[in-house]
């Protein structure tokens, strides 16, 4: 062999394919296969895959009335699909150009209200026609074939040989008797596994530190503000009214646990008031303030029925009685709404006397403990 050898195969690679691999290529020469027509070849391949064609209902006779009708139908459906698709493009591109503008204005109707429905209708019809046409084609123009395929159970040969290779590999590794390696492997596995998931520890935060669940921004002297930031005097509400108030801290009206309901009770309600033990002085005259966050699942409680003195939560229908310390009287809630102790400061505006004395919102495992 010299460096100038140019015989095929001498520098690697081949211009001609190598011998065709075994299996059916051994049983059937190319000449034999060339002698078979297409149908026979198809059946041969199928049989090789374990498939037997039981029966074929041929398609309609070429040139027959049936075939012509079917072709017409399929063609029409495909044509419609294309038409609708082009109309979609016209509507999409043309709106705002040669068609009215698609941009929504708060009007009672007009093109902008039809833009999206038209898009949907046209795309929907177009795609439905494609699908419809395809299935129609299959049913009316393709031959109906009934085929059977054999199922193979597991191969005993494959199992036994694969098993032997696996077990042999394990045996060769000697791990069964090389205890030090197996034990250090176990340590390694544990350690590396732990190491890989350790960065997820950055997600872990201690919920008990600083008790954020059990405290809000309300504190002594913090004013009660409306949503627009204005403070409230005792004359600013009628009996039988409810105002949502927020603490006078930066971002107070966006905090998730600070929203409070300031309710001015009617004289009949004041007469029947049964406040919670130790909280009789949390009210200020006819004004009571309760947390708006439901103690069941945290929705804002909101629905104040001023005649029946109930506050209904729209999420799961818990009902709290505002004359009985907002304790739950119906529904899945178990705890009364926390009450905010309020008074009036020397400028005449409502302030809180302290934070809520219990955690606001839904219950959790150690709510009573911190």
């Amino acid at each position: 062999m010299t460096t100038r050898d140019t015989r095929p195969g001498s520098t690697g690679g081949a211009d001609v394919p190598g011998p065709l691999y075994g299996g059916p290529d051994d049983d059937y020469t190319p000449e034999q296969l060339a002698a078979m027509n297409r149908l026979e070849l198809d059946r041969l391949g199928a049989r090789y895959d374990g498939v037997e064609i039981l029966h074929v209902d041929p398609g309609p006779e070429p040139g027959s009335v049936l075939e012509k009708r079917a072709i017409r139908q399929v063609g029409t459906v495909f044509g419609l699909a294309g038409l609708f698709a082009f109309l979609f493009v016209v509507v999409y591109v043309g709106s705002g150009w040669f068609l009215p503008d698609w941009q929504w204005t708060v009007t009672e109707g007009g093109w902008s209200a039809f833009f999206t429905p038209l898009l949907g209708l046209l795309m929907g019809l177009s795609l439905l026609c494609v699908g419809f046409g395809l299935v129609l084609f299959t049913k009316k123009l393709l031959p109906h074939e009934t085929a059977v395929q054999d199922k193979h159970d597991g191969s005993h040969f494959d199992r036994v040989t694969a098993g032997a290779t696996l077990v042999g590999g394990y045996h060769n590794s000697g791990l069964g008797r090389r205890k030090l390696i197996t034990r250090s492997l176990a340590l390694m596995g544990g350690g590396v596994g732990l190491m890989l998931i350790m960065p997820l520890g950055g997600l872990i935060k201690n919920p008990n530190r600083g008790n954020p669940l059990g405290t809000t921004s309300w504190a002594e002297g913090v004013r009660l503000l409306r949503n627009d930031g204005t403070p409230i005097r005792p004359g600013d509400q009628e009996p039988g009214s409810l105002e949502t108030v927020f603490p006078a801290v930066p971002g107070g009206n966006l905090q998730a646990d600070a929203a409070t309901m300031l309710i001015r009770l009617r004289p009949e309600q004041v007469a029947n008031l049964e406040p919670r033990a130790g909280q009789a002085d949390f009210a200020y005259g006819e004004y009571v303030a309760y947390s708006k966050i439901c103690t069941h699942a945290g929705c804002p409680v909101s629905l104040y029925e001023q005649e029946t003195s109930k506050i209904l939560c729209p999420c799961h229908q818990s009902q709290f009685d505002v004359t009985q310390g907002a304790k739950p009287v119906f529904g899945p809630a178990t705890r009364a709404l926390p009450q905010l102790p309020i008074e009036v400061d020397d400028e005449g505006y409502f302030v809180a006397r302290s934070d809520y004395i219990e955690a606001v919102g839904p219950t959790y495992w150690n709510r009573e403990r911190i």
Binding site: D49, V106, L203, L213, N253, L254, S302, C315, G331
Partner: protein, 560 residues
């Protein structure tokens, strides 16, 4: 053996030559032929899983479009877009981008709605598919793994839905997010830690939308894709199940080959599913976030519900009684824990383990590739009906305030109806379903024994009137049929056994005279009437013998 350009079987067309080049490099043809020859049974109920698959595909495509416009940030911004009633309102960047997509992107609202409708369809079709698998016993050995994968995919689909509809950060989904927060908190011992890990602190924080986004567009879809691939590979490997019938055994599959019939029909179904989603996406409004407004923890709307597939959890939460468990040491297990975490956990665990439970209870450890008709397994069918009643009743309870408002029923009464119904109705459903299954089984056997009621009355010489029955097979000396029930549907009408021909043809312009129909068919050269003059009965006509029209048996779907 070397091949030359003139070797027999060598391609001569351009396409053929190109194909040869590809196959020379990729060695595709063994796989290709094997795949094309695979036989799939074509019962209509086997197409339900495909609907789920194709709606997932639609979700992937439309979802990718949405990611080009969505901003998963909770930064506060002021809206300056074209929807006037919200202009100047403070909202999160996520909500702002969703509004932008709805009103300031051409066709954006259509794509948003298409995506959401496809999501609802995705879960609905998974549920229908699951019901089919359950009631026909397709989860039995060797398909337990696929069942497990399916249940896991159902749970992942629910998670996809929840993370997805929370992304726009509107008032409705924000209310749902608050409830998710409460559910996390309600878990004993680790609840507050779990909450702080997920939300990066107290509710609502600044991270949750971004985290849901990554879950929704990357993590869960990746897992779903892998599971779908596995699900389909196992299906192909084990071959699809089939109903018992003519020529069908535990060791074969009867149906259509993949190419061209099955592939054509499947492609057609892709387009039909896509078409339905597109039609809904434009014609029916869904999740009008501009009407809900941006999420604010102090605001809520009456009649707030989650998407339908979470409705059962909303219902269980509404009707569960106020039962806190107070433990010594001032610990407590909140009432919310049971109707959310525990009930959902139990339901999905029982669902996942059902194949193993049933195997234990029935002692049936054999492999099954033939399906069972629901009536033939009354206990399973009744258990399924019971579970379905439980689930549906919880879903109805989830909408109890809407029902109370629209139908003028007391809200408190609706809660009690939910509580009582959920205990009382499932056992009733079990008993009723069981009796129905037994009745259907009895009827099958009766027809096998006594033949089909033809509706023809005959008067005997003795004066007695009898109805003529058509036996389904050979009869013994008492006139009773000797065919055993084989698990396949028993023909119950004369036209099921080829005893009647179509008297009406055509849908929009019906031809209603039988003789006219016959003439038409003869003229076309197709249909029952063509071969009639020269047809002779060569076999018993039983379906088991082939049942072809030319053999006098049961006609298959007529072409026209």
């Amino acid at each position: 053996m070397a091949r030359t350009a003139t070797a027999p079987g060598a391609p001569t067309t351009k396409l053929g030559k190109a194909a040869l080049e590809v196959d020379d490099r990729m060695l595709l043809s063994p796989w290709l032929r094997r795949t094309m020859n695979k036989v799939y049974p074509d019962h209509w109920s086997f197409l339900l899983g495909e609907i789920a698959l194709y709606s997932f595909l639609i979700l992937l495509l439309s979802g990718t479009y949405l990611t080009f416009f969505f901003d998963a940030s909770m930064r506060e911004v002021v809206y300056e877009g074209s929807y006037a009633p919200l202009r100047g309102v403070e909202m999160s960047a996520a909500y702002n981008s969703a509004l932008n997509l709805s009103f300031d992107v051409r066709g954006g609202l259509f794509m948003r709605q298409l995506h959401h409708w496809a999501a609802l369809l995705f879960v609905a079709s998974i549920v229908v598919h699951l019901l089919r698998i359950f009631f026909t016993g397709a989860f039995r050995r060797p398909r337990e793994t696929n069942w497990l994968i399916g249940v896991v995919m159902l749970v992942l689909a629910l998670l996809m839905g929840v993370t997805g509809y929370t992304l726009p950060d509107d008032l409705l989904s924000g209310t749902g997010l608050r409830i998710i927060s409460a559910i996390l908190l309600s878990v004993p011992v680790i609840g507050t830690w779990a909450h702080f890990a997920v939300f990066n602190g107290d509710f609502v924080g600044t991270e949750i939308i971004g985290r849901f986004y990554i879950l929704h567009v990357l993590l869960i879809p990746a897992i779903l894709l892998a599971l779908i691939a596995l699900h389909l590979i196992i299906l192909v490997k084990q071959k699809h199940t089939q109903f018992p019938g003519a020529g069908r055994t535990e060791h074969n599959v009867v149906g259509n080959r993949l190419f061209p019939t099955f592939a054509a029909k499947a492609t057609g179904l892709i387009f039909v599913v896509f078409g339905v989603c597109a039609a809904l996406g434009g014609i029916v409004q869904i999740n009008p976030i501009w009407l809900w407004g941006p999420y604010n923890p102090a605001q809520v709307s009456a009649g707030s519900q989650p998407d339908w597939y979470i409705g059962f959890l909303d219902g269980s939460t509404r009707i569960f009684p106020p039962w806190d468990i107070n433990l010594p040491g001032d610990y407590n297990i909140p009432a919310l824990f049971w109707p959310t975490v525990v009930i959902a956990g139990l339901m999905f665990t029982v669902l996942a383990l059902y194949p193993f439970i049933e195997r234990k209870l029935t002692g049936d450890t054999a492999a099954h590739h033939l399906l069972q008709r629901p009536r033939d397994v009354p206990v399973r069918t009744s258990l399924g009906a019971m579970a379905l009643t439980f689930y549906l009743w919880l879903m109805v309870a989830g909408g109890n305030d809407l029902i109370a408002d629209k139908f003028d029923i007391s809200l408190n009464a609706m809660t009690w109806v939910g509580r009582i119904g959920v205990i009382v109705l499932p056992p009733i459903a079990y008993v009723v379903t069981y009796r129905i299954c037994l009745g259907l089984q009895q009827h099958d056997r009766e027809v096998l024994e006594h033949g089909i009621e033809t509706g023809v009355i005959r008067r005997l010489p003795s004066g007695e009137f009898i109805e003529v029955h058509q036996p389904l097979g050979p009869v013994d000396e008492h006139g009773h049929g000797q065919l055993a029930y084989g698990g396949a549907p028993v023909p119950k009408r004369m036209n099921h056994v080829g005893g009647a021909r179509r008297a009406i043809r055509g849908f929009f312009t019906p031809i209603e005279e039988p003789s006219q129909v016959e003439l038409e068919q003869r003229a076309e050269g197709r249909g029952l009437a063509t071969g009639e003059p020269d047809r002779e009965l060569t076999s018993s006509g039983r379906p088991a013998d082939g049942g072809r029209p030319s053999e006098g048996g049961r006609p298959q779907e007529p072409r026209d």
